[in-house]
């Protein structure tokens, strides 16, 4: 029913397709953009340098000079995201570099492809962290009520009034900028929405017949919470988490833009944008493409979120 409703929404389907495309790009990044060949035929032997790199962590079994010999199949973008080339600085989009190069001669498309890995992992892990925290606190507050509810509700109120972005900035400046710290900090500061939703759901369900029935037959409390009530409350949480991924990707790119994100030479969309500030008026491609990547990804997640929300509960539609 929900699935059918969702599929009928064309914009949401477009969103899903883009999200899948985005996932595939992040997962297949080494095969899409690499200065090593995917396949190499050299002196009667077959080599798969990229696969070898992934499984063994190095290229050692392949011939020494990969570029010199044999028949080979290169990835569609034959550049690595970190290899600089001083002979091709700030080249506009062209046949060799589809989206141009940056100030160190690195291929922008290759960097965007690898940047998607950062956005994907931050989006997912940060949201997973805060969904777990939010579910835990929300379930406790909603089911047990009373003093527990009072304390948790106070805590939620404190977190809501926190200047969150500034807090994230402070913590990152103090513990050191890194992608893992970003995930953890976003996770710890953004759980209030999920907690409020879950609290409401658990409040609604705790006096219903199926809960009473489960209690009567002696189901333990943790089991009752996790196996019986939780599955009934997950739908709105899932919708909220989808929007959350979009928000987390935006926060990550803002932080990387400010220099608090992944550290060079690792590529991230916000970091490319931040680098481009010095060349804004001479290299438009450095500003345009990473911005488009962020925009398209956020739009896709928001469309999927809206589609899910409308499919799950048409009343919520605005």
């Amino acid at each position: 029913m929900v699935g059918r409703q969702f599929r009928r929404n064309r914009l949401a389907m477009a969103g899903i397709i883009f999200v899948i495309f985005f996932f595939a790009t992040a997962l297949l990044a080494p095969f899409l953009a690499n200065d090593k060949p995917i396949y190499l035929y050299h002196e009667g032997k077959h080599y798969f340098p990229i696969v070898h790199q992934i499984t063994h962590g190095h290229f050692s079994s392949t011939p020494h000079n990969l570029k010199a010999y044999g028949w080979r199949l290169m990835p569609p973008v034959p550049y690595s995201p970190t290899e600089y080339d001083l002979s091709s600085l700030l080249i506009p989009p062209s046949k060799n570099h589809w989206l141009g190069t940056d100030d160190q001669g690195r291929d922008v498309l290759a960097r965007l492809i690898y940047g998607s890995q950062v956005s994907l992992s931050v989006g997912f892990i940060a949201v997973s962290i805060y969904v777990i925290i939010g579910l835990f606190f929300g379930a406790m507050a909603g089911y047990f009520g009373g003093m527990t509810d009072l304390i948790i509700s106070r805590l939620i109120e404190i977190m809501i009034c926190f200047p969150t972005f500034f807090l994230i900035l402070t913590v990152l400046a103090f513990v050191g900028p890194s992608i893992y710290n970003i995930m953890i900090v976003i996770g710890i500061t953004s759980w209030t929405g999920i907690a409020r939703l879950t609290r409401g759901e658990f409040l609604k369900f705790r006096h219903q017949d199926f809960v009473l029935a489960a209690k009567t037959v002696g189901v333990s409390t943790p089991r009752l919470l996790i196996k019986h009530i939780l599955p009934n409350s997950l739908a709105p949480v899932f919708v909220s988490a989808t929007f959350g991924v979009a928000a987390a990707i935006l926060v990550e790119s803002s932080l990387s833009f400010l220099g608090f994100g992944v550290q060079p030479p690792t590529a991230s969309w916000g970091e490319i944008l931040s680098q481009s500030r010095d060349f804004m008026d001479i290299a438009w491609w450095l500003t345009l493409f990473p911005g488009l990547a962020i925009f398209l990804t956020i739009t896709a997640y928001n469309l999927v979120g809206e589609g899910l929300r409308d499919a799950i509960d048409p009343k919520l539609k605005i």
Binding site: R154, L155, E157, I158, C161, F162, P163, T164, F165, F166, L167, L169, T170, V171, A173, F174, V175, A246, L250, S253, S254, F257, L258, L273, S276, R277, M280, D281, I282, W284, T287, P290, G291, I294, F295, I298, T299, N302, K317, I318
Partner: protein, 341 residues
């Protein structure tokens, strides 16, 4: 309206703010005190010195510096002292240049508030008519186009838009219409008052656009949904049956009731915008709270960080309180007694 109940309600709400406020400042205090590294080594060793190679300086120098800043005392004593000084609005002296923090805040806060108040005003000014239009002509192609357009705007990262605006309108390669840094031109003091105001507004155009467009989508869709819901109710049917013109029905009877929940959004809008203005102030070199905070974080200027968190938390709490009070004042169906429960 019973004045006594109202004062009672406001007082009660105000005292409920205090624990939240203490919670926020205490958590921040603990975070910055327990984090690795210290402002002492940063100060003595320069940037990058925090946390590393503090063995390079003699113990005595470190102890003296710590004592100077009061960092040698236990955390709870430091927090107690901070609270005590807060009562007189004394936030201590900045570690960076030893100027009183309250003075720095007094310079920065009006700028950030001005930026955000203009932005909120524009958001309401644009999105409510857009929402009304969409609700009066639901599912029309204009409705669909506005919805899509606002949705796209909503997903555009503000710092990227700011960069694009600078390239195209700020004298990068194309048009040179607006200044891109600061809030007034050099030597503006010599101009007559109204020219000074004009100069300020001219500087604020690009930052305000960057802050505003993202909020349009949410508010206009919210007002559309509100109005659509109200229009379906019985009293609107009655008004139509009475023979009132459509514009009177929508604007006088529908809108009044639909707009009430929009007021409450103001409480959530202000903190969100202040948070977002960190990056915008950074890009446009606007000397507001965001830029002050950003620099304080980089130099571990504890007193400035604490002051900013305290003031932003206070502003948030007060704006939530004010919207709650407005809500009751505007909507006669809600009374303070009901809100109590």
């Amino acid at each position: 309206m019973d004045g006594g109940t109202m004062i009672h309600y406001i007082l009660k709400r105000f005292f409920l703010i205090l624990p939240t406020f203490f919670g926020i400042t205490l958590i921040t205090f603990l975070i910055i005190q327990l984090a690795p590294g210290s402002p002492v080594s940063l100060k003595l060793l320069g940037p990058g010195g925090a946390g590393v190679r503090s063995d390079l300086i003699s113990k005595e120098v470190i102890e003296q510096t710590k004592k100077l800043y009061g960092l040698d005392q236990p955390v709870y004593v430091q927090y107690g002292k901070w609270l005590k000084r807060l009562v007189t609005l004394d936030f201590g002296d900045s570690y960076k240049d030893h100027r009183p923090v309250s003075l720095k805040i007094r310079e920065a806060l009006p700028i950030t508030l001005l930026l955000n108040i203009i932005s909120i005003f524009l958001i309401y000014l644009i999105s409510i008519p857009a929402g009304i239009f969409s609700a009066v002509h639901p599912e029309s192609w204009m409705d669909k186009i506005t919805t899509l357009l606002l949705f796209i705007l909503y997903s555009l990262p503000s710092f990227w838009v700011a960069m694009i605006l600078i390239i195209y309108l700020g004298g990068g390669e194309y048009l040179d219409l607006f200044p891109i840094a600061g809030i007034v031109s050099y030597g503006v003091e010599t101009l007559p008052f109204w020219n000074q105001v004009g100069n300020l507004l001219w500087h604020l155009v690009l930052p305000v656009i960057s802050l505003t467009y993202g909020g349009l989508a949410f508010l206009s869709r919210f007002s559309r949904a509100q109005l659509l819901e109200v229009i379906r109710q019985d009293f609107i049917r009655t008004a139509r049956a009475k023979g009132l013109s459509e514009s009177v029905v929508i604007l006088k009877h529908g809108l009044r009731n639909a707009l009430i929940p929009l007021v409450t959004l103001m409480g959530t809008l202000l903190p969100a915008l202040i948070g977002g203005s960190v990056i915008i102030e950074q890009i446009f070199s606007i000397p507001g709270m965001g830029k002050l905070g950003f620099e304080a974080v980089l130099t571990r200027d504890y007193p400035v960080i604490m002051a900013i968190v305290a003031i932003e938390a206070f502003l948030t709490l007060i704006s939530i309180l004010i919207t709650d009070i407005l809500y009751v004042l505007i909507d006669p169906r809600i009374s303070f007694e009901k809100v109590h429960q």
